[in-house]
Symmetry: C2
Subunit: 322 residues, 2 copies
């Protein structure tokens, strides 16, 4: 009841309307309390920590933060099909990582290259396609693609508590962004429908693009160049390039998000950083310091030292997927 | 007071109330009629040409379209001071264009390199500064920088009819973007105040950025790399990278905007393209096919063939600056 009345007050303050618990999938633990306290602080007019709506930028990692990332990044499933289809035309891939591992079916070998390796696969296989063609390809694929373990649609492997968090922040006039190591063109076709995040608020690893006129029709073609690996040090760079303002809140789940959380919290005024810690082997997966995917090691240490919020999925979330 | 009530009225218009003229600085000629007819078509619910607000993306060139660009791009004035200050440390600049021309005071020679040359100057002189330092430097400079000819503040050399157009489009739920050959970090510190366009809706020529920790504090440093020359073919690329949707309306004044207008109008459904033609030697400047700055040659021909709107500043605008 305490939380409900707290939330009522927050709702009344920001929108002037009565509201129920905006985060029903979150248990009443410290993580939820920290989120609500922060949002109240920055959105209460007259508060010493008030932040104007235009500056309420919140950035979210995608893989492992907004949707699952085990047993492999979901984009890797999409890319694997394309690499296999294109392999006959690229004999050199047999000796070049991470292509070689992928073609042998050795996903561990592929993942050893991290998100940078996956970005390399993505860029290599997508080069030559127009952005319109690529968008159609992703849209068609994601409409039916299912998780190899659960059999659910990949777009249903999103985290219900994080969907509620996105909506709660937007209701309090935050602008929510994705800042992910995943490919920017891979995410944009479906993030608006799934997360309510429009294409222009998606930042991701980016390949080269070239404007051409083909058969009298202007097209934009994906090239082999790599413009941004939006992981680790690349995340603050992607934020600066695309948003041009420092976020006041950032959400991640791995060491790949550490620099984004550092950059966000190093700004003046109220700041919020949150790590999703995958601790639920029964309802989801449990992994951190030793994982090839979504390793959370340095970040976990730094979160403790700096007092960042660490979500214990098992304890803090009463529901995982919608 | 006029502007305030104007903007208020534009807001009422979209909300279904009676409104005054939202474009009072535009004479009642074909250009104004074409703008209003297009906005009505895409924003009238139930119309066959209705476009959902999320897809109402409008992109504007800056130099020569939103503010003046004669006798030199205004960013060049900023950069010139920096090049002069740094020249003693760069003896090689004496033999390298466009540095050599600039140091000799030969602005025509500098401009011969086009926007790409200016971008090169910008990247070279800004490298090593943090983005925070650069933002402060630009903000301080633009607060007092005056036009060499008119003596007015550079931020007052904006076009009143275009300010009205920006407000009119936003009142009709368009999202307005700048897509300029100018430096992205040069524009962002002041576009919100001057045009109502926030940093995240500014696309421009972009240099390399690197995340570093200096003295225990995270910073983003400008490097010498060039990530995007946001001119000509670079404009559709910048649009795709930053916005991820094709605009339905685009506004420019030179051949550097031609590909943006082509890309915009090549999409399906209702599209709008407009060129500002500088025809007013008395109140502003008159230039087109032979100009080193803002050359409008191929674009003028293509506009005629394709029926794009061409603003005749002398005939169409009853007021130039605020």
């Amino acid at each position: 009841m305490k939380i409900v009345s707290l939330v009522l007050c927050a709702g009344l303050l920001s929108a002037g309307a009565v509201a129920a618990d905006p985060l029903p999938s979150w248990n009443d633990t410290g993580s939820k309390q920290a989120i609500i306290a922060f949002v109240d602080r920055v959105s209460t007019a007259g508060s010493v920590d008030y932040v104007p709506p235009a500056e309420r930028i919140a950035t979210f990692d995608n893989d492992g933060t907004l949707w699952a990332e085990q047993p492999v990044y979901f984009q890797a499933i999409y890319i694997a099909d394309q690499v296999k289809a294109l392999a006959p035309r690229h004999p050199e891939w047999k000796a070049e990582e991470p292509f070689a591992s992928l073609l042998k079916g050795d996903m561990k070998g592929v993942l050893a290259g991290g998100e940078a390796g996956l970005a390399k696969l993505a860029m290599a296989t997508h080069a030559g396609m127009t952005t319109d063609e690529f968008e159609r390809s992703v849209s068609e694929w994601i409409a039916t693609a299912k998780h190899p373990g659960t059999g659910r649609l990949l777009t249903e492997m999103v985290y219900q508590p994080m969907l509620e968090l996105l909506a709660y922040l937007r209701a309090n006039e935050f602008k929510t962004y994705i800042v992910s190591g995943g490919g920017i063109e891979f995410m944009r076709p479906w993030t608006e429908r799934v997360y309510g995040i429009p294409p222009e608020q998606v930042v991701g690893s980016s390949g080269g693009l070239a404007y051409e006129v083909r058969d009298g029709k202007p097209v934009i073609v994906k090239t082999t160049g790599i413009v941004l690996i939006d992981d680790k040090e690349g995340k603050p760079v992607g934020i600066q390039r695309h948003i041009g303002r420092r976020p006041i809140a950032a959400f991640g789940n791995s060491d790949g998000d550490l620099q984004m959380l550092q950059w966000t919290t190093a700004g003046a005024g109220p700041r919020f950083a949150l790590y999703v810690h995958h601790t639920d082997a029964e309802r989801e997966w449990a992994y951190d310091r030793e994982s090839h995917i979504g390793r959370l090691d340095k970040g976990l240490d730094e979160a403790k030292v700096r007092g960042w919020t660490v979500v214990d999925m098992k304890q803090d979330w009463n529901r995982i997927h919608p």
